[in-house]
């Protein structure tokens, strides 16, 4: 790991100012950044430590929704009683992510900045070609081992999977990311790779994530996060789904439905087509399974990751059916 200068921000304004300088990066929990610095992927000239700032880790929840300070730890949010009761999918996405130690370190703001686990991206010594790391250098994953790579939202430049869980739940429930005075939908915060896979987030130098907010809804209250993976714990998703359902008074007809997928796309993937196909319908397993196939509209596989196209709709269907069973 190359050395860098270290600056402990004394205020949020000082953090913004320091982070705007060339070669500067914000340091929160460090679980992505220090790891990538050791891999030789991140080469910051200066780190701006924001973990000592006070007042940015509060969690407030009421009928209107939740507001979570950017420095709140994953473990703290996962265990928060009101998050568990009003946003179960958010709590489940968090406790099924990473490990207890990492969840004690990682902040929710840093979680949104998590980078892909594409093994080619993470190994510059052996794979110099990576458009995400070095724009224009090519993509080592194309023609390589693609078992973990994305089938949705890919481009000719990049097929790296977005690895996170939390943001999948956040896009399902229309969460917003707050960058000081500016705010935007979490869905818009994550960018498709297109021709510029190096640009992953709609955040500019000098901007600092200050909070996440999630609107309260009946669908968020009856929600779940289902994660299927190669080992039972401490593993990234082969395919995952955040699902929330609101029923009409009859308890069977779907009034509102939220579906988002993880582990299969280049960003957290909202499945509007599945939602539209089932809204207004009675929740029946066969109809749910048929509608869930719509989640894979436009999917393109690269050989070894073909299984995701079969797996992901089943994960979506199982999650929706489970929400029906709890009615």
């Amino acid at each position: 790991m190359r050395d860098f200068s270290y600056l402990r921000a004394g205020s949020i304004d000082a953090a913004r100012e320091a982070a705007a300088l060339p070669g500067a990066m914000l340091l929160a929990g460090g679980t992505t950044l220090i790891d990538l610095a050791k891999c030789g992927v991140a080469e910051p000239q200066s780190l701006v430590d924001i973990t000592h700032l006070e007042g940015f880790d509060a969690i407030t929840v009421d009928e209107r929704g939740a507001t979570i300070g950017a420095l709140a730890k994953m473990s703290h949010i996962a265990d928060h009683a009101d998050i568990k009761s009003r946003f179960p999918a958010v709590s489940e996405a968090l406790w099924q992510a990473a490990s207890p130690q990492i969840r004690n370190m990682a902040t929710i703001g840093g979680n949104l900045m998590q980078r892909t686990r594409c093994p080619y991206f993470r190994d510059p010594d052996n794979f110099p070609a990576c458009n995400k790391r070095s724009p224009g250098s090519g993509c080592s994953a194309l023609g390589g081992v693609t078992r973990g790579h994305a089938v949705l939202g890919t481009s000719e430049a990049c097929i790296a999977t977005y690895p996170g869980d939390l943001a999948v739940a956040l896009v399902a429930f229309d969460a917003m990311v707050h960058l000081g005075d500016r705010q935007l939908a979490v869905d818009d915060f994550f960018l498709l790779p297109g021709a510029t896979p190096d640009k992953e987030h709609a955040i500019e130098p000098g901007e600092v994530i200050t909070a996440i907010s999630i609107p309260g809804s009946a669908a968020a209250r009856r929600s779940t996060y289902l994660k299927v993976r190669d080992r039972q714990s401490y593993e990234f998703a082969a395919a995952s789904a955040a699902v929330g359902v609101e029923f009409e008074a009859d308890g069977r007809t779907i009034r509102d439905l939220r579906v988002a997928l993880g582990g299969v796309a280049t960003k957290p993937w909202r499945a509007h087509a599945v939602e539209a196909a089932l809204k207004g319908k009675v929740l029946q397993p066969d109809a749910v399974r048929a509608a869930s196939l719509l989640a894979m509209e436009g999917a393109v596989d690269h050989g070894a990751n073909h299984y995701k196209i079969e797996l992901a709709p089943r994960v979506v269907a199982r999650a929706i059916i489970k929400m029906g069973e709890t009615a």
Partner: protein
């Protein structure tokens, strides 16, 4: 408050009840500071990239990975390592004793991290069943595969701590 920036940093660490002052490069991790500067080699370096849990220590009572924590970041924080668990007279912590009784290791390299993680797991209230223990100990890998005995040790220690 003003910003501080420098290429070498003076830090104060409270480790196992002892006060240490160090000057480190910003890139020095807590793990390397413990092992190479303070001779606290009980905390192990396994993968050194946040995947194995061998470097688990407590910062302000919370279990974290020392390999992904910069020493500079924990300036002023309270740190507990495996060396700080037993009583001053040598009486083992309940989790240490349970690991011995249940033979919860083979080579022992992952054991300090397992024990530090288990102490926190029990304190967090995540040791209520074998399934919960497995889930909340998932961040600590044991390449010898001593998992069944590790689960038994955590279960035993959780009962002892509760009683």
């Amino acid at each position: 408050m003003t910003n501080q920036t420098t290429s070498r940093i003076s830090i104060h660490l409270d480790i196992n009840g002892h006060h240490h002052e160090l000057e480190v490069e910003p890139r020095v991790t807590l793990l390397d500071a413990l092992r190479d500067r303070l001779d606290l080699t009980g905390t192990k370096k396994g993968c050194d990239q946040g995947q194995c849990g061998a470097c688990t220590v407590h910062v302000d009572g919370q279990r974290v990975l020392a390999c992904l924590t910069l020493a500079a970041q924990v300036d002023g924080r309270t740190i507990t390592t495996i060396e700080g668990l037993a009583e001053a007279d040598g009486t083992l912590h309940a989790v240490q004793a349970a690991f011995l009784e249940q033979d919860a290791f083979q080579c022992g390299y992952c054991t300090p991290g397992q024990i530090m993680s288990a102490v926190a797991c029990i304190r967090e209230g995540h040791a209520g069943s074998d399934d919960e223990i497995r889930e909340y100990m998932a961040g600590n890998l044991c390449r010898c595969g001593a998992y069944p005995h590790i689960v038994a040790a955590v279960r035993q220690a959780a009962l002892e701590v509760a009683s």
